[in-house]
Homo-oligomer: 335 residues x 2
């Protein structure tokens, strides 16, 4: 009988999560019922949003309950199937959670093709981060060709895709990232016009230099001081896409709101929140277009693959320390 190691939520963290906020439990893998499949998890997505799922209270998705297996998106391989739609050996993606094996209904998973892209890419540019970038920029951000686009977390899962799509659309693109290596990558490999190292530069001043006509679209993954720096440099009718606020998720006290939000008034600008799930019926359309760009070499996808389910709590914290470079993915098992 196969054992299934799981991370169950044990406590709601205050500030940074720590190992004791989860309990590690080994249980036998359940037998699939009719219409269910068993999936062996190969790669597990580590996302900033996971921090929010650990909190109580109303959000865009229900919180993970105490005692429940921690939520995560994963790619895996089908090891047993009582579904007509999936067979053993199929590769699938879905919300399979922080564990080695998931028993799920067939509707909870989608087949992916490892010949078209390496499996981790389905948690990255061809997965939720890519969809978030695509719909956030084009739909919520209402990007127009040739505009000036700024994206924070530019070397991260969402940011790398936002900037590259904006370049494909003929925009001037400025990234914001932490450290010279990331900035070099963003400019030289991904082709952004500029990248501001927020650890070394005055972001507000640097934005003024790189965006002399102001920012048309600011795609915000970080919140805090960088959001204020962007607000201070908006063009008229700018759109701010509120995708995340990673700088604020682990505050033990209240979050910091943007003190200069009246820049929205001065510039007749808009700040709008987006949740990728709202675009679920268009994922296939976006995946097709982005897959095409990848095949043409116009869209690169970088994943930062770390290993070991047992180190899940520590690996997750890499995100909040800005230690990942590209989409952070935890490798759980070999295929």
């Amino acid at each position: 009988m196969t054992t299934n190691r799981q991370f169950k939520l044990a406590a709601r963290p205050v500030g940074m999560p720590k190992r004791t906020d989860w309990t590690v439990v080994d249980e036998p893998v359940a037998e699939p019922k009719e219409g269910e499949v068993v999936v062996k998890v190969l790669y597990l997505s580590l996302d900033p949003a996971m921090r929010g799922w650990m909190n109580e209270g109303k959000s865009y998705i229900r919180p993970v309950e105490i005692g429940e297996v921690m939520r995560a998106d994963s790619v895996g391989i089908v090891t047993a199937s009582k579904s007509a739609r999936f067979k053993t050996g199929d590769h699938v993606v879905g919300t399979l959670n922080v564990q080695q094996h998931a028993v799920v209904p067939e509707k909870a998973i989608t087949r992916v093709d490892p010949r078209l892209a390496p499996l981790p890419v389905y948690l990255s540019t061809l997965g939720m981060p890519g969809m978030t970038a695509y719909f956030g920029l084009l739909e919520t951000g209402k990007l127009k060709d040739g505009e000036t686009v700024v994206v924070s977390g530019a070397a991260g899962a969402v940011g790398q895709v936002v900037g590259q799509i904006a370049k494909i659309k003929g925009c001037t693109v400025v990234g914001i990232a932490g450290g010279a290596d990331k900035c070099k990558y963003v400019k030289e490999e991904l082709g952004f016009d500029a990248c501001i190292d927020y650890k070394a530069e005055d972001v507000k001043k640097a934005l003024r230099t790189h965006c002399p006509k102001g920012i048309d679209v600011y795609f915000d993954n970080v919140g805090g001081d960088i959001l204020e720096a962007a607000l201070a440099n908006l063009a008229r009718h700018a759109r701010i896409v509120v995708c995340g606020a990673i700088s604020q998720y682990n505050n033990a006290g209240p979050m910091k709101g943007p003190a200069n939000y009246l820049s929205l008034l001065v510039n007749r600008a808009r700040m709008e929140g987006m949740v990728v799930f709202d675009f679920a019926d268009r994922y296939a359309e976006a995946a097709k277009e982005m897959g095409g760009w990848m095949a043409q070499g116009k869209l690169k996808s970088r994943e930062d693959i770390v290993e070991g389910l047992d180190d899940f709590p520590e690996k997750l914290l890499m995100l909040f320390r800005g230690e990942n470079f590209g989409k952070l993915v935890l490798k759980v098992a070999d295929a």
Copy 2:
């Protein structure tokens, strides 16, 4: 020779403006040149926005310079004309500034009809505050019939119009105002469904009670804690119209940004700034529709008329203390 008393900006205030931030100067009224008219100011509009005009730095309009006559909208009567478009005795509205007599080019003023509405109404519901309410609610706010609308400063110049238009559109309307008298007026005279007294009630809780399905449009005139209370009660796809932030204009330190702005993300909501000038080519259209509503008794306009140009600095402060009840207008002279 007629003397013209003027309030010229003498200093940029820190915190609340005070009398010494202006210099009172008496000068002879200049002769009009070709195409100019002389207007005797009768009523002068006191607006929260005036505080912003006293600050240095980029805004939606250039600051008043030190030594320049303080900017204000006014209604007056033409006393001399070298324009073919205006004759002595015409009543006009325009940015005539804080003074007794203005010499202005003909394009700076618009004729108004005192038989259709009392003159102060042209600084109120049929003036900039009414236009701000109309376009802010219907265009920026994208109001749909039957939605739940909340407006702060509900007994003020803009708020009273916002709520009444929303009622005309079949919406559920909740006002927020300071004091039992204002709330009574807002409910009983203006017909709002409810009014929350922010001086006596927990606004966040009261909004939850009065807006059980959440707020679809929040029209914000005040910012600060009340903006946060509204953010905490948004419906999905809500729109926040950022019109002003009177609670924050006199902060000596930085403004307070909304700490819970991620409610925009959770609710896929939008916060958008508006400046009424952008709709200048549609003022006539709005005035016609609102004039019609006034004639039918569906739209009431309340002005709070105080007297005496010499007391301009003290009367202006009434706005920031919430002492005005309806549109605050300073009577400068009899017709």
